[in-house]
Amino acid sequence: IFGGYATKIQSFPWQVYFESPRGGGALINEYWVLTAAHVVEGNSDPVMYVGSTLLKIEQLRNAQRLITERVIIHPGWKQEDDLNARTNFDNDIALVQLKDPVKMGPTVAPICLPETSSDYNPSEGDLGLISGWGRTEKRTNVIQLRGAKLPVTSLEKCKQVKEENPKARSNDYVFTDNMICAGEKGVDSCEGDSGGAFALPVPNVKDPKFYVAGLVSWGKKCGTYGIYTKVKNYVDWILKTMQENSGPKKD
C-alpha cells in the first residue's frame, strides 16, 4: 500500500492473507474467498489466513488457517506464460472455495457483494478503502496490515500513467469496462496487495458498511493510479459459481 497507514485487521476483517505469492483476498462468506485470478493462477492450493493484523508466526498460529477446497478462476481470464509481460488483466477475478466454514468474530467478517442496482456503480470521486501487506514506498512488503483511502477516478487516468515495465509497451495494455481506476497521487495499492478488496460504503445505510467494489488487479506504476477488477460485473458469475459448488462435499 502506498500512501497508507498501519492499521488493524478489525478495520478490514474481510482481508485474507495469501502466503505465496503474497497477495490478498476478500472473504465474502463462510466458504468463499474472492481474489484476483493472477494471485491463484497456477496455484490450486494456496495457503491463506484470516483474522491477523500481523504476519508473525505466533500471530498466524492464532489466526484461522483457511483450507482450500477448490480454486475457480473466471473463464474469461487468459492464461499467459510470461507473467511479467502480461498486459491483459481482463476478468482478473477468481473464487477460492474453502473446505471448512470460517468462524466470524471481531477480526473476521465477510465483505458484502455489490447489488445489481445502479447505486452500486462506482462513480468518480467515490472514496474507497484498500488494505494489504504489499509493497510500500519503503519496503517490499510489511508485517503489519496497512490501509488507505482513495477515490474512484476515470479509467482514462489509469491509461495515462507512464509505463514502467520494460517488457510491455504502453499501448499493449488492455482496458475494459470490467476495470475500475482508483487512486490519487501517492495513494495506491502495489505488489503483494493483489486480490484484496477495494471497499466502497454501502449506499443509503447509516452505519459504516462496505461492499467489495473492486479487487486489486494491476497498475502501470505504484503510487499513481491502480486498476481494480469491477466486481459488480461478476456478481452473477460469483453467485452462480457458489451455488453450483455448494452441494454436499465428497469425502
Binding site: 497507514y5 492499521t7 488493524k8 478489525q10 478495520s11 478490514f12 476483517p13 474481510w14 465474502i28 462468506n29 463462510e30 466454514p101 468462524k103 466470524m104 468474530g105 471481531p106 477480526t107 467478517a109 465477510p110 465483505i111 458484502c112 457483494l113 478503502l129 488494505s131 490501509g147 488507505a148 483511502k149 471497499a199 454501502v202 452505519d207 459504516p208 458498511k209 462496505f210 461492499y211
Partner: protein, 422 residues
C-alpha cells in the same frame, strides 16, 4: 351259626324243672328268613302275669310274649299247643323259675323253623320305591322302563344328570317337561360358559311347577342353582318363587333338581344367556375412542386415537393411535398405553447460534434460537421462535422444521479505518 330249625327244651324236661333257674336261648336263622316258633308242650307254674315262673320271647330287646300255665292242643291232628310267627331272624327265649316247684311242673318243649318273610308286604315301610319282588330268603326291587335302580338297590330314578351346556344362549327343562317329572331323582346340570361372560337366568312364573313345600317350609322336590360363592334356592311350589331374572357373577353354574318319591308336577323350564363382562369406559381428555359407546363389553375393540399433540409410545416408537380389546377379565388390553404429550426432545444446535435451554420440550413448548450477534444475524427476519408441534418436531411458522441459519454480517468492521492526519 344260624340254623334253619331247632329244638328248645326246658331244664330236666320232661322231668320237673329245677328251682331258681334262668336259662336263655339265642335263636338265629339266616338273613331273609323269619322264625316260626311253636310249643308242643307247655307246663309252667301259673301266676299273675307269669310273675313266678315264665317263658319269655324277646325280639330286639322287646318282650314279644310271656308264657306260663298249661296248654293243650286245639286241634286233634296237631301236637302244637302254642305257636308264633316272627318276621325277624333273631329271637331270645328266656326260661325263669322261682324258689319252689312243689307241684313239679315239667316245663316246655318248643321247636323253631326258618320261614320265608315277604319283605314286600310284611312290613309297614315299603322296601322299594317302585316294584318289590319277594323270594325265599330275601327280596329285590325293580324299576319301570327308563328308570334305573340306584346304588342303594331300593330306589329307582331317572338318568337325568350329566348335561353340560356351553352355548352362550340356551334353554334347560326338567325331564319330561311339561309332563310330570320323575320321582326320586337327582338331576344335575352344568352350564359352563367361556371366559368373559356372566350367566343370567330367566324363569317365567308359569314355567315352574314343583311339588310345594310341606307345612314346615321344606321342599321335598327342589330346584337349586349354585354359582361361584353363590346359591340360589332351593325353590319349589307352583309358580317360580324367586326373581324372574337371576344375574350371577359367574360363568359357571350348577343346577340340581332333586325329587322325592311323591309328587306328580310338571317341572320347570328356564332360559339362560351369557352376559358379556363390561370394561370400564375410561374418559381421557387426550384421546378419542372409536366407536364411541355408552358401554363396552367383552370382545369390543376400540381404536384409541390421541388428540393433536399427544402420542402413545411403545418402546422407542411413537404413534398416534392404538387398539385396545375388552378382555375376559373386564380389563382393557394395552391398558398400560396412554396418550401422553408429544415430546420434541432436545432441540438441535445450530451453527453460529444457540438455543436457550427449554423449560419443557413437550407439545406446545416454545424455544428461541439466536445467532451470535453482532457477527451473525438470522436469515429469517421473523426470528427463531419454534414451537413443539403435534408431530414431535420443532416447527417455525416460516421455516417449518428447517433450522434457522445464522448468516455472517457482512461489510461491518469492528473498528473503522482511520486515516491518520499528516
Amino acid at each position: 351259626e344260624p340254623t334253619m330249625y331247632g329244638e328248645i327244651l326246658s331244664p330236666n324236661y320232661p322231668q320237673a324243672y329245677p328251682n331258681e333257674v334262668v336259662k336263655t336261648w339265642d335263636i338265629e336263622v339266616p338273613e331273609g328268613f323269619g322264625i316260626h316258633l311253636y310249643f308242643t308242650h307247655l307246663d309252667v307254674e301259673l301266676s299273675e302275669n307269669c310273675a313266678y315262673d315264665s317263658v319269655q320271647i324277646i325280639s330286639g330287646g322287646i318282650e314279644e310274649e310271656r308264657l306260663c300255665g298249661q296248654r293243650t292242643s286245639k286241634s286233634p291232628n296237631s301236637p302244637i299247643v302254642e305257636e308264633f310267627q316272627f318276621p325277624y331272624n333273631r329271637l331270645q327265649v328266656v326260661f325263669t323259675s322261682d324258689f319252689s316247684n312243689e307241684e313239679r311242673f315239667t316245663g316246655f318243649a318248643a321247636y323253631y323253623t326258618a320261614v320265608d318273610v315277604n319283605e314286600c308286604t310284611d312290613f309297614t315301610d315299603v322296601p322299594c320305591s317302585h316294584f318289590c319282588n319277594n323270594f325265599i330268603g330275601g327280596y329285590f326291587c325293580s324299576c319301570p322302563p327308563e328308570y334305573f335302580l340306584h346304588d342303594d338297590m331300593r330306589n329307582c330314578g331317572v338318568n337325568c344328570s350329566g348335561d353340560v351346556f356351553t352355548a352362550l344362549i340356551g334353554e334347560i327343562a326338567s325331564p319330561n317337561y311339561p309332563n310330570p317329572y320323575p320321582e326320586n331323582s337327582r338331576c344335575e346340570y352344568q352350564i359352563r360358559l367361556q371366559e368373559g361372560f356372566r350367566l343370567v337366568l330367566t324363569i317365567r312364573r308359569e314355567d315352574f311347577d314343583v311339588e310345594p313345600a310341606d307345612s314346615e317350609g321344606n321342599c321335598h322336590d327342589s330346584l337349586t342353582f349354585a354359582a361361584k360363592n353363590q346359591q340360589f334356592g332351593p325353590y319349589c311350589g307352583n309358580g317360580f318363587p324367586g326373581p324372574l331374572t337371576i344375574k350371577t357373577q359367574s360363568k359357571t353354574l350348577d343346577i340340581v333338581f332333586q325329587t322325592d318319591l311323591t309328587g306328580q308336577n310338571k317341572g320347570w323350564k328356564l332360559r339362560y344367556h351369557g352376559d358379556p363382562i363390561p370394561c370400564p369406559k375410561e374418559i381421557s381428555a387426550n384421546s378419542i375412542w372409536e366407536p364411541e359407546k355408552a358401554k363396552y363389553v367383552f370382545r369390543d375393540v376400540v381404536k384409541i386415537t390421541c388428540v393433536d399433540g399427544f402420542e402413545v409410545v411403545e418402546g422407542n416408537v411413537g404413534s398416534t393411535s392404538f387398539y385396545s380389546t375388552c378382555q375376559s377379565n373386564g380389563q382393557w388390553s394395552n391398558s398400560r398405553l396412554e396418550c401422553q404429550p408429544v415430546d420434541c426432545g432436545v432441540p438441535e444446535p445450530i451453527e453460529n447460534g444457540k438455543v436457550e435451554d427449554p423449560e419443557d420440550t413437550i407439545f406446545g413448548s416454545v424455544i428461541h434460537y439466536t445467532c451470535e450477534e453482532p457477527y451473525y444475524y438470522m436469515e429469517q427476519e421473523e426470528g427463531g421462535e419454534y414451537h413443539c408441534a403435534a408431530n414431535g418436531s420443532w416447527v417455525n411458522d416460516q421455516l417449518g422444521v428447517e433450522l434457522p441459519k445464522c448468516i455472517p454480517v457482512c461489510g461491518v468492521p469492528t473498528e473503522p479505518f482511520r486515516v491518520q492526519q499528516r
